[in-house]
């Protein structure tokens, strides 16, 4: 419980630093100060984080962001609200460690279930159109298309700028360069992603408990965080999943591995911010 409490405080600080910009809703600066005071209070006052009311107050920070502009709020900010709320509610229960593990397991299962479901009901996804587009236009993916020798660097750059200009030039249709070759990457990746998420949804929502299942959950979440956030560097999302991973872990491996993910992701976030690697793009030749 202590570990989860401390790591959730880290989550709070990273959220405030990364997401509560002063420009946001006009009150970001104030929110930042309030959150910092909460953090200091939690550290200074003995075991404040053991009180449900503290986490309910913390949940209000991302909840405020969601309430003011839900239509432009990323999914992981919603997840942060659910987690802080769940943390507070679990502390009202007699066996709070067990309640916390239940919340974390069900949130992870629920998120992977929804991610799987929405992919399977999206015609663009199941036909492979989505990842074909990403491998031709989005620099996070097109660098692999280039590295695999499937498209020319100049063509990929043209694709990105052509799509950006679609609105400016009032065009209705344009053809992407290199579309014939990219299916080799896009098709297997389409099914690898949805297959992985479906497997994770299944193991986290599986009703019976067993040692192999606990191992599968712990290994699964660690591999998912490492694999996903190296490619799409959404550090806060990775951190939330890691903290949920710690809370649900029943094996020593899971607790330590998920715990190690937290400083690793924080460090990754700092490196990204300092070097701009998160803005990976193909250098103009």
């Amino acid at each position: 419980m202590e570990r989860v409490g401390w790591m959730s405080l880290v989550l709070l600080v990273v959220y405030v630093v990364m997401h509560v910009a002063p420009a946001d809703a006009g009150g970001g600066g104030l929110l930042r100060v309030v959150a910092a005071l909460m953090f200091v209070g939690a550290v200074g006052v003995f075991r404040l984080w053991r009180r449900p009311i503290f986490w309910f107050a913390v949940a209000l920070l991302p909840a405020f962001q969601v309430a003011t502009a839900w239509w432009r709020t990323d999914d992981h900010i919603f997840l942060l609200v659910y987690w802080f709320l769940g943390l507070g509610l679990a502390l009202t229960q007699k066996d709070c460690t067990r309640s916390l593990a239940t919340v974390a397991t069900l949130l992870l299962g629920g998120v992977f279930f929804l991610a799987t479901l929405t992919k399977l009901i999206s015609p663009e996804y199941v036909t492979g159109d989505f990842f074909s587009y990403m491998y031709l236009v989005d620099p996070r993916f097109s660098r692999f298309t280039y590295a695999a020798g499937l498209a020319d660097k100049v063509d990929l750059l043209r694709n990105t700028s052509a799509v950006e200009d679609l609105g400016v030039n009032n065009l209705i249709v344009l053809t992407l360069q290199g579309y014939q070759q990219v299916g080799v990457l896009a098709q297997p990746f389409t099914w690898l992603v949805v297959g992985t998420e479906a497997a994770l949804a299944t193991i986290f929502l599986w009703p019976a408990e067993s040692k192999p299942l606990h191992w599968a959950r712990d290994v699964g979440i660690v591999l998912f965080v490492l694999g996903t956030y190296a490619l799409a560097p959404v550090v806060l999302f990775g951190l939330i999943l890691s903290v949920l991973g710690i809370a649900q872990a029943r094996t020593r491996f899971g607790q330590i591995a998920c715990l190690m993910l937290v400083p690793l992701l924080v460090l990754y976030g700092v490196v990204l911010a300092a070097t701009g690697i998160g803005e990976l793009s193909i250098a103009v030749p």
């Binding site: 969601v66 502009a69 839900w70 239509w71 432009r72 709020t73 990323d74 999914d75 919603f78 609200v81 659910y82 987690w83 709320l85 769940g86 509610l89 679990a90 009202t92 229960q93 007699k94 309640s99 916390l100 239940t102 919340v103 069900l106 949130l107 629920g110 998120v111 929804l114 991610a115 929405t118 992919k119 999206s122 663009e124 996804y125 036909t127 492979g128 159109d129 989505f130 074909s132 587009y133 990403m134 052509a162 799509v163 679609l166 609105g167 400016v168 009032n170 065009l171 209705i172 249709v173 344009l174 053809t175 992407l176 360069q177 579309y179 014939q180 990219v182 299916g183 896009a186 992603v193």
Partner: protein, 134 residues
């Protein structure tokens, strides 16, 4: 009997966030299908399912008489603009249209894209529109 009463006295409150997750998902799906919300936002965990992502959306403003494009004003409120792009319902479009002054009858439209891998074609298509009068 006592243990039953004890269990009854402590409802599983920690399940509330899971219920919220599902309710928000349902609300997001409704907004996607009825108001044109981008599936990448709004708490439904449907990022990476469609190319209809926020930055793929764009506005078109043109003269109703000649269909000639009219440049969007530079001083347009960013939040209103983003709001109309992400969720182009009638209320948000009206709010954005109110910020745009035109000298002739014009139409404001929100467009997005789709992609077809077999042809390699990116198609722009209209999501919503509103007429603006001088």
């Amino acid at each position: 009997m006592t243990s039953v009463r004890r269990k009854m006295a402590r409802p599983r409150l920690e399940l509330i966030p899971i219920a919220l997750l599902l309710v928000v998902f349902a609300v997001q799906r409704i907004h996607i299908h009825t108001q044109g919300l981008t599936p990448w936002m709004g708490g439904g965990f449907s990022m990476f399912t469609t190319v209809d992502m926020p930055h793929a959306r764009h506005l078109r403003l043109y003269s109703r008489a000649t269909r000639a494009p009219i440049p969007l004003p530079d001083d347009i409120d960013d939040l209103r603009l983003e709001s109309a792009l992400h969720l182009p319902d009638a209320r948000r479009l009206r709010a954005l249209a109110a910020e745009i002054e035109v000298s002739e009858p014009a139409t404001l439209e929100v467009w997005t894209i789709s992609y077809h891998r077999r042809s390699g074609e990116v198609h722009a298509h209209r999501l919503a529109r509103i007429d603006i009068d001088p």
